[in-house]
């Protein structure tokens, strides 16, 4: 018996489709890359600095927490990289270094690791971190202030702030094509609409994000904006404007469908996305904040566990 060959014994099934968490992470960053690239071209070295610092500090926070909590190092799954990259996409290129480090700290530790790490976070870590920074340091996410020394050949006014303060007449300079091509100020990776849409379509087709959530979110934004616009075309911008400005597109494909904080059943996914979209425009148009995307996502994250209880009855089960 001693020289018997040793075989692997394990439980069925004996096949796996070969997917992995790191694959999802790498492809998410890949899909985000074109949008980030335009940010780098437009804003230059400061943007590069923010991106590098954001990704590296996010990974270091994760490593530090792994060490402190004496858990296996989880950097290999790529999730820290994704969170770092997404934070940088939302941040202005001129964000001070301490804000970036603070932001990734909030995202990684308060947003993710204190709940037990990947899969345990009830809120979207990146959205949470942006919200806390917005509320704690006034002006960190003020894009008008951030790009005051830039001259890029298009309007340097943050479109959402312009429409909120001065009404639709103030945004007559912006046309859909320019917005789509990234001729607007905003987060490093959140202005280039076309690239975000291409990346989003890639993620949806590859099954890395749940398309139901993304599309219902966009539908919610578009529908609500259209209704506001119809009620008062002088004060409220139309659907196209809301879809192409602020964090709408980056949220639709990279924040709202974050795995852990969003539902998995069909009807909850549709309600979740739609409600987040509606809330986004409500906050933009009648709330205190210029862009409501972040708060809309966080609110829906809290509702998510309840929503996900709406599910089809298991087959073979008593009524």
């Amino acid at each position: 018996m001693l020289n018997q060959k040793k075989f692997i014994v394990s439980h069925a099934p004996f096949w796996h489709n070969g997917t992995s968490i790191s694959e999802r992470s790498y492809h998410t960053v890949l899909a985000a890359f074109p949008a980030i690239l335009l940010g780098l071209i437009q804003y230059g070295a400061p943007a590069l600095g923010v991106i590098c610092l954001s990704i590296s500090s996010a990974m270091l926070w994760e490593l530090a927490f792994n060490k402190i909590s004496k858990c296996p190092v989880t950097l290999g799954d790529g999730n820290a990289m994704v969170i770092g990259a997404l934070f940088a996409m939302l941040a202005p290129a001129t964000m001070p270094w301490w804000s970036v480090i603070m932001g990734t700290f909030v995202a990684m530790i308060i947003g993710k690791h204190i709940y037990g790490g990947i899969g345990g976070n009830p809120l979207n870590p990146v959205a949470l971190s942006v919200a806390i920074l917005m509320l704690s340091w006034k002006g960190v996410f003020d894009f008008n202030e951030a790009y005051r020394h830039y001259e890029l050949g298009f309007s340097m006014a943050y479109p959402l702030a312009a429409v909120k303060n001065f009404g639709v007449s103030a945004i007559s300079d912006f046309n859909a094509k320019d917005l789509l091509m990234g001729k607007q100020v905003g987060g490093i990776g959140s202005g280039f609409g076309l690239a975000l849409i291409v990346g989003g379509i890639y993620l949806m087709f590859r099954g890395f994000i749940r398309w139901e959530i993304s599309l219902s979110f966009l539908f919610g934004v578009g529908l609500t904006a259209m209704m506001f616009n119809a009620s008062d075309p002088v004060r409220y911008a139309g659907a196209g404007f809301h879809l192409l400005t602020g964090y709408t597109l980056v949220a639709a494909f990279f924040l709202v469908p974050e795995d852990s904080s969003s539902p998995v059943n069909l009807i909850p996914m549709l309600i979740f996305g739609l409600s987040a979209g509606v809330l986004t425009v409500l906050i933009r148009n009648i709330g205190a904040y210029v862009d409501g995307t972040i708060f809309a996502i966080l609110f829906m994250n809290i509702v998510n566990p309840l929503l996900d209880k709406i599910r089809p009855k298991a087959i073979g089960k008593a009524a």
Binding site: Q4, K5, K6, F7, I8, V9, S10, H11, A12, P13, F14, W15, H16, N17, G18, T19, S20, I21, R24, D77, G116, G117, I118, G119, G120, M204, F205, R206, G207, F208, R210, W211, D259, S260, S262, V264, N265, R311, P312, K313, A314, I315, G316, K317, A318
Partner: protein, 442 residues
Amino acid sequence: MMIKRSFFGLAKPRFAYESANPAKPEKISMPKIVTLFCKTPYRGNGLLAVGEKVKTGQKVLLYGDSDAYIISSVTGTVSSVSSYIGDFGKSYTAITISASAQEETEDVFGKDPAEISLENAKKFLAFSPGAPALEGFSESDKSKIKTIVVCGVDTDLLMFTQQYVMKNRTEDISKGISILKHITGAESVVIAIPRADNSDSKPCGMKNAGAVGGASGAEIREIRSEYPAALPHMIAKEVLGNVVTAGKTWEEIGISFFSAEAVASVGQAFRSGRVPVNKVVTLIKKDMSKVLVEVRLGTPIRDIFNAFDVTLNEKDRIIIGGPLTGASVYSEDFPVQPDTDAIMVQDAESISAVSDYPCINCGECVRICPVNVPVNMLVRFCEAGKYQDAADMYDLYSCIGCGLCSFVCVAKIPIFQYIRLAKYELERMRLANLESEEAANA
């Protein structure tokens, strides 16, 4: 080689059941020893002494106080009686018989039609190829199980054992069906055959099934060719419609499943007066090529590997059954059992490891679950050992055991294993409770 996720991950993976027309099974030379597992825990040698001579087809009782028996598949001498612990700690008595050169076959029935009875079937056929599930039936209470389903479909992928039997042993199956109907008093018999979706490779000619159905008054149902349509719960849904099956035994539901081979065994046994001892098995090699093999029950799988030049190295995997629902074994000495429909070998290279990562809530399992179990929630409760909550709130008992959730799990969580463990633990707790209640009452 492994089935990968398609580039467009939106599309669900489609697993088609094997539909090739297998050639006649190849026979291998007689095994030198056979090992037979009796479904009763080992309690010493009992009635059986080492050195005792047995004939092919002879019934061997093990213990005076138990009806458990085996049917010797060779002529020879008993060389050992020992204990074997299977999956989930299930205990068997393993009887090893060394075969001698001269074969003598024992007749257990005469040709008298009066001998065709449920009692005789239970007494002699429980260990025949296909393992006919006769325990659920009883003489006194004939009405409990109303439907017998004859499965001419293979439950897992890559196998064609039952399809082959369904197609090629029509006479035995027809006879088996009429006998089963007669002795069990079942109201209806349904034959499940694969749906022939392309005409080139009809998995099981309708003509043959029609012949069987017509001759024995059975109804024929075609089963979709997509996994897991041929798993018992899915067939039950097809046959009975949407009935409550979660957490119930097949007996309570009133349905009994017989593989085509089991029915053929019943037919053959009463036709010939002897208990059949040959089992058809699909051998799935490392390159996923398949061969149909006919062997004596109890043949060590090593003999099959040797006959078909399957070389195994350290860290390969041997699977009894198919790729999604089988069970791996640790030794090439493991024998072919009455219900062994396939033997699969996997190269160390193609074995994917499971991980202890938590669920990331991607929802792939929820999308693929054929019975709408909220797997993402279920696995969290199972991981935490909250088995009762898993059953009460998250449909543990609706799970039909197809294994697809583990197959698609991005975090590589052994979900199916957690589910099986949860069911096993709950059953163990239920039995312990029953025992303590009985003790309290006594």
